[in-house]
Symmetry: C2
Subunit: 402 residues, 2 copies
């Protein structure tokens, strides 16, 4: 079997699959995952914080009390109890009034992006994404062959002039944002920036996606207004249990207006009938039996200390002309080297010294010559404070030698 090949494969592949960028990061992760490497490359949460025992108790309880139903086919929309819990959490944490009918359970927020692309995008439809931005969104959308435009993000949020011009000139159907602790930069849109974005989007026909996987992981500063409050008829929210409970369950959700939920459910049904129902039941049982706020507080405390350790080491060791973007939460820091220094060259040097990170280049879209070579993403959540210190020192030595 291994040697069996379809001889005419090139004729068979769809145009859309030929355009999807292969994830450069996956290749980097292979090098970075060697046990002797100090890796700031990963995008994974810290497995030490998974609530293993509580999940085990939830499994036993669900199977004992409700085994037949938990193992049977279920509705495409997702478990109603879980959707009610999510709606209630929006109320408690953000004061947002969401109906469970407006929530669709998905396989992580990655599937939410795929379903939105499927339901909304025709070939060549204009869309806007953050630059730099989340690679998974670029991958998911690119399968539907839109015309991708980008809006620069910096420590304040979206570049308002760029956004205004783009909305006016290109009329994007979708605007994809990660306003809280963005991947890859760790930055958040300021309150003023959100207001300005909303003012530009409101008179247009664009839909704004607020992807929010890290929103609950705030170490400092104050929560900012959700786009759902600023643009209630144009905002689609995505959420996920991956960063606050477990990613392996692939449990996320979409919050969307009623007339968008219906076609999304049809697309979900065609995609995989429904999301793993057993895992939906386990998560719900876990949430009902355990104080999730305490669990999230533990993650925040842990990650917050790791971020602090990385910032301290950076202050101590990094050359002063390396800029670190201000970040109040999440999992990443974003470093900008002096303009003449290449993060790819730094990667090659650092990996020889057993330190890994992700160069910033793959997170950008646009013409090659416009993409900065000197940015990098540093994840601080999986390494111990001691290793963070050692790794940052090594990285500093590599930068200084360039």
């Amino acid at each position: 079997m291994t040697n069996k090949q379809i001889k005419t494969m090139k004729n068979h592949l769809s145009e859309r699959i030929k355009t999807v960028p292969e994830s450069f990061i996956r290749r980097i992760l292979k090098v970075s995952n060697q046990p002797d490497v100090i890796s700031f490359a990963g995008g994974l949460p810290n497995a030490d914080l998974f609530p293993i025992q509580a999940i085990q108790q939830a499994c036993v309880k669900v199977l004992e009390n409700n085994g037949k139903q938990a193992l049977q086919y279920a509705s495409s929309e997702g478990d109603i109890g879980l959707r009610e819990w999510i709606a209630e959490r929006y109320q408690t944490v953000q004061g947002l009034s969401i109906s469970p009918e407006n929530i669709l359970i998905t396989n992580g927020s990655q599937q939410a992006l795929d379903l939105l692309g499927k339901v909304l995008l025709n070939t060549a439809d204009p869309i806007a994404i953050e630059n730099p931005g989340y690679l998974g969104a670029i991958q998911a959308f690119s399968l539907y062959r839109p015309t991708m435009h980008s809006v620069s993000v910096d420590e304040n949020g979206m570049n308002i002039d760029e956004l205004a011009q783009l909305v006016k000139a290109k009329k994007p159907k979708l605007i994809y944002t990660v306003p809280n602790f963005q991947n890859p930069t760790g930055i958040s849109y300021s309150q003023q920036n959100r207001q300005a974005v909303a003012e530009i989007v409101a008179p247009s026909n664009a839909l704004l996606i607020q992807d929010d996987p890290y929103g609950e992981l705030r170490f400092s500063g104050k929560a900012k207004t959700n786009f759902m409050s600023l643009l209630p008829e144009q905002t689609i929210m995505l959420g996920s249990f991956s960063k606050i409970i477990t990613p392996s369950f692939r449990l996320g959700w979409i919050v969307a207006p009623t007339n968008l939920i219906k076609p999304l459910v049809i697309a979900k049904q065609a995609a995989d009938l429904h999301t793993n129902y057993f895992s939906q039941q386990i998560i719900l049982q876990y949430l009902n039996d355990n104080p999730v706020d305490e669990h999230i507080a533990k993650i925040i405390q842990f990650y917050g200390k790791q971020k602090q350790a990385m910032m301290s080491a950076i202050t101590e060791y990094f050359p002063k002309d390396v800029h670190i973007a201000t970040s109040e939460g999440g999992m990443f820091l974003w470093a900008t080297l002096p303009e003449n220094k290449s993060a790819m060259t730094l990667f090659d040097k650092a990996i020889q010294e057993k330190v890994a990170f992700v160069p910033g280049k793959p997170f950008y879209v646009g013409e090659k010559e416009t993409i900065p070579e000197n940015t990098l993403r540093l994840s601080y959540v999986t390494m111990s404070e001691a290793k963070i210190k050692t790794g940052i020192k090594t990285l500093s030595d590599c930068i200084k030698k360039m």
Copy 2:
């Protein structure tokens, strides 16, 4: 929130989502699921046969021995241990030599269909599906807007003349088949029919999908040759744990040639990163710790008795001019009423008497006037033998009154 509507929704929806048929069956299932209805309508396996306790033991073991990994992000290809188990099972049961590298784990075989459509189909590409055939496949493929052609199936399998003409005239890129215990008809392709199909497909560039969710559920007769043996370079096999262990885990797989697996993995990554890894680990633990052949034998014995009960009741009560298609396994029987009798009318009468089934019409593709009105699908797996007898008697009375 509930009242929030996107005002310009019609302008937003993609062309592809507008063409997907909404599942008529879902609507029927809502009526059929009332507790006092004897339902032959469902497509669900019998929940009494789920190995609840063994799954519970597997959960505990996985979380105790390997909790951190089981709750972390995992590879898009799927767990290598699970893929090895699947490869070995093809060897043991069917004598097929498959490499784990040629297997991709998906969210049930439904996602396999979506990924294949995504990777292979451009708008208007010709494909061939069975008529009548599996609705989920029609739904999944139609999102990629192919030109759908159909080939009639009867008790021998595909109509060979129709297939030959179609392959010659339309050059389909894909041919979708369920050669074992097909949904909706319960029929299997004969050995001779498979041979003839393979001879027609071999010289063409078509890829043949053998979807096989029911293949292990044989009550009588002898296993037939897999298309993978007949068309090794053109066959894509789909498999699933839904009908033999549990459907709620949404665990299926694709077996494909090496040069097709690679783009499928990219599409999988964009679709949802990977399939629920916790559930992959549980199924593997379950398979390692329990004799799955004994479990499948139990299902076969149970379903076989239920099928026998339905056949006996049909022989006793049904008018002699109702034809039942020969079936050696699976979950369904296919009835054909005399030509002047409508299964939709029968459904309306029967549901008043608290008996439900699925009229055959939604399983057909093609021009309205070519679709027979007089077929119906009867599932025998979820009702007790006593209820099967009562339900068939009631249905007979309704037919006689028409």
